[in-house]
């Protein structure tokens, strides 16, 4: 097997991976960086983020406000030391993006403009119209091209970490162009592979978001933290699940039911006026808004369409000029995909799986429990997002923790020499290659990849969606266990080497099943309702028992083993989440 030696390996070339690569290159230009991704960097799903990135920008705002909004929004499951440093580093990272050329939208005096997002006391979301993730990703990618030490390995699918004596020493990856397995040997490894929304059938997430990095770390022995917390975004287009940014509500959009009534006022988010108003009504947090839709649906007040029930997001009162300036993508997407030009028609929307709050367990330095292994971005769980991520914190998180991962990886790679004996590394590489070979050899009455994927999707939606119960979760856990078993019998129809997407989809399915199982078992064990995790049988938050992170530990054949760790509380004691009312 070809061995590629490098100082730092980064898996995933979206926002977090690129930011980490640049940080390594700037920290120590002598270090070689191999940046691997299963897609070209600009295809990474950071590209689809629309509304913006949070960072204190105005004199009427403060770190304390950003901290409080984040911790409250996360229903007190955030680690407060992590949030503290996150809010302080946020404006610095966003400023750095500005220096690198990010085309942030501007105010008339030439300074960077900010807009309000849900659950936010003062507007602090930096934006580039409604294509913020797109612009950030392209800015980072283009910026990375000036560093000779960064070598990008496009279309390499990473399969297994190599860990020797508790130290991460590299990984194996399939070069998709040839179908050959390569071994990357490194001093430090950063995982930045994004989330796992694709375990659900209806999601804003692109096809690539299959939790590969989460599964890779999990199988290597790093726990997956808080996996039961999966965010529904309240406004996705029916049918496709395409995201309509919260920025649309930040600019003044309203949500109405079939009677044209702003129903959020019935769910402790009102009164409706004056509007727009921060931390109220349509600018409440995502979990509350998605849950309100569920109740509204139960009351029969949603609109029945061929793609399921919807409510309307109405932007007409904003007028064409404002929509075109601030929300051009929303206009384009709604017009072409659901035939609703928001200048003239309300947009049909419904809650859609959007973001995995949980992920690879890391500390505030992006380090995992395996020495030399770091993780950042949506695949990681620090946790700054707690039980419900505040809108526009995720783009900033990519930068803050991507950069910290880069610094940590660079520091470790700069100081160390590692044992010369690579026998064990090579052996593990061969084991990984054996896993791939086995997939090719399996034949007979095998399981189909799309078939298993659909069963997984259906099960997760039915059993682990917006509202969950003991029964629904029990059943989901059992189905996931049996799907994982059946996956061992999966059969490839494509036996060729070059760009074999049947093979890649098999690996992706394996990752998704591991991750979905961790989500379901974590959810079953958390017998309370908090943030995005809502149980119909345990409707209250239970701080006595569950003010804790859940840690799912991998078991190759059985259920994940769940452990708990205390949340870091520094200055904000758990309280009641108040939105609407007199909030200013």
């Amino acid at each position: 097997m070809e061995i590629i030696k490098t100082d730092v390996v980064i898996v995933g070339a979206g926002g977090a991976g690129l930011r980490a690569a640049i940080e390594v290159a700037e920290t120590n230009p002598a270090l070689s960086v191999a940046l691997l991704s299963k897609v070209y960097p600009m295809r990474s799903h950071t590209v689809a983020a629309e509304g913006g990135a949070a960072g204190v920008a105005q004199s009427n705002d403060s770190f304390e406000n950003h901290f409080n909004d984040t911790v409250t929004g996360g229903d007190w499951l955030c680690d407060q030391d992590a949030v503290d440093l996150f809010v302080k580093e946020a404006p610095r990272e966003l400023t750095r993006m500005e220096h690198w050329g990010c085309p942030w939208s501007r105010q008339s005096d030439g300074s960077v403009a900010v807009r309000p997002f849900g659950g936010m006391k003062v507007e602090r979301t930096w934006y580039a119209a409604d294509k913020t993730g797109f612009h950030m990703l392209h800015t980072l990618y283009q910026t990375s091209l000036q560093f000779p030490s960064i070598k990008i390995y496009d279309e390499f699918y990473s399969t297994d970490l190599i860990v020797v004596d508790g130290r991460c020493r590299g990984l194996t990856a399939i070069e998709m162009r040839t179908g050959q397995m390569r071994l990357f040997e490194a001093m430090s490894v950063i995982i930045a592979t994004g989330g796992a929304g694709r375990v659900f059938p209806f999601t804003t997430n692109g096809a690539i978001k299959t939790g590969d990095g989460m599964a890779m770390a999990y199988r290597a022995g790093v726990p997956l933290k808080d996996m039961e917390f999966v965010q529904y975004h309240p406004t996705g287009l029916p049918g496709t699940g395409i995201l309509i940014t919260e920025g649309a509500r930040g600019e003044g959009g309203i949500l109405v039911n079939k009677d044209g009534y702003r129903y959020l006022q019935d769910y402790n988010l009102g009164p409706p006026d004056p509007w727009p108003r921060k931390k109220a009504m349509e600018l409440g947090p995502r979990d509350r808004l998605s849950q309100a839709f569920w109740h509204e649906n139960k009351k029969g007040r949603t609109i029945d369409t061929p793609h399921g029930d919807v409510v309307y997001l109405d932007l007409r009162h904003l007028g064409q000029a404002k929509i075109d300036e601030r929300l051009p993508l929303v206009r384009e997407l709604a017009s072409s995909y659901v035939d609703a030009d928001p200048v003239f028609k309300p947009i049909p929307v419904r809650p859609v799986i959007h973001y995995t709050m949980g992920g690879i367990d890391t500390n505030i330095n992006a380090e995992t429990s395996i020495e030399g292994l770091f993780a950042a971005g949506e695949c990681a769980c620090v946790s700054i997002n707690g039980a419900n991520r505040l809108g526009s914190n995720s783009l900033t998180e990519l930068l803050v923790f991507g950069s910290r991962a880069g610094r940590g990886a660079a520091a470790l790679a700069s100081k160390g020499t590692l044992p010369d004996d690579t026998t064990e590394i090579t052996r593990q590489g061969e084991v990984a290659r054996g896993r791939m070979t086995a997939l090719f050899l399996q034949s007979g009455d095998g399981e189909s990849i799309p078939g298993l994927r659909k069963e997984m999707n259906q099960t997760m939606e039915e059993g682990a969606g917006i509202y969950r119960t003991e029964d629904s979760l029990q059943e989901t856990c059992q189905t996931m266990a049996s799907l994982r078993k059946r996956f061992e019998n999966v059969e490839l129809e494509d036996k060729s080497n070059v760009y074999n997407t049947d093979l890649i989809q098999a690996f992706e399915l394996g990752s998704m099943l591991d991750v979905a199982h961790a989500m379901a078992v974590s959810a079953l064990n958390r017998k309370e309702s908090r943030g995005s995790h809502q149980r119909l049988d345990y409707i209250e938050r239970d701080d006595t028992t569950y003010l804790k992170h859940s840690l799912a530990n991998y078991d190759p054949s059985g259920e994940p083993r769940i452990e708990y760790r205390d949340v870091v509380i520094t200055k904000s004691q758990p309280g009641v989440r108040v939105y609407g009312g007199d909030q200013k």
């Binding site: 590209v47 050329g101 008339s108 797109f134 496709t240 399921g308 859609v352 999707n457 917006i466 997407t501």
Partner: protein
Amino acid sequence: MTAASEIKPDEIKTRIIEIEILRYNPETDDEPAFQTYQVPCREDWVVLDAVNYIKDELDRTLSYRWSCHMAVCGSCGMMVNGEPTLSCHSFLRDHPDKLRIEPLANFPIERDLVVVMDDFIDKLKSVKPYIVPREKRSVDDGTHKQMPAELARFKQYTLCINCTLCYAACPQYMLNESFVGPAALALAHRYNLDTRDVGASAREDVVASNPGVWECSFVGACSDVCPHDVDPASAIQQAKIAGVLDYFKSFLMPKGEAKK
């Protein structure tokens, strides 16, 4: 709540579309050949949905790229009935009962609808698509001021998603693959116009060279197929004008670098 994935098929029209796809596996095929599929398509689908149906239900061996399904990641460009097309943004309601799908023209085929992107990536890099700063600026210095009008001068050229439809449409690139091409030249122009940047002269070697803007014959096919109205043709024309001005300035001012 009704399941989001639950479709009421009787409420959405379906029809059978005959889809021909150019297949090529370098390990087994001497040359590419068409394969035909009969696909039951829903009227609200895009072309990509039909291709995904083939992959999931009819033929696991088909290879192609896709991800976001919202016209922003730029992966899923294909020739659809001869036109460079972003397949996630091309609606079946606008197509007849027969579709012919091929890999993007003017690129070597890697496998089926997957083309070799190396040349494009090299060209992107060649134009130095990053800010060359006037002076070193630290984070503590804060952000630059940039007036909305200054942003507006280059904003359009930041919208390129690197889908490479413009290369598939470009008659010059077809004839001469050393042509830097529409997307890369538009990107160079984007940075040249940015008030934060002074890299125009560093980009000149590539941009103002023969395979650079002067190779373009201004057919405008690139702008016609661009899914985001970047209008690379106008970027190239503006760059030509800027190049001519620089040429004359060089007589008036030795080392006549002027910020455009």
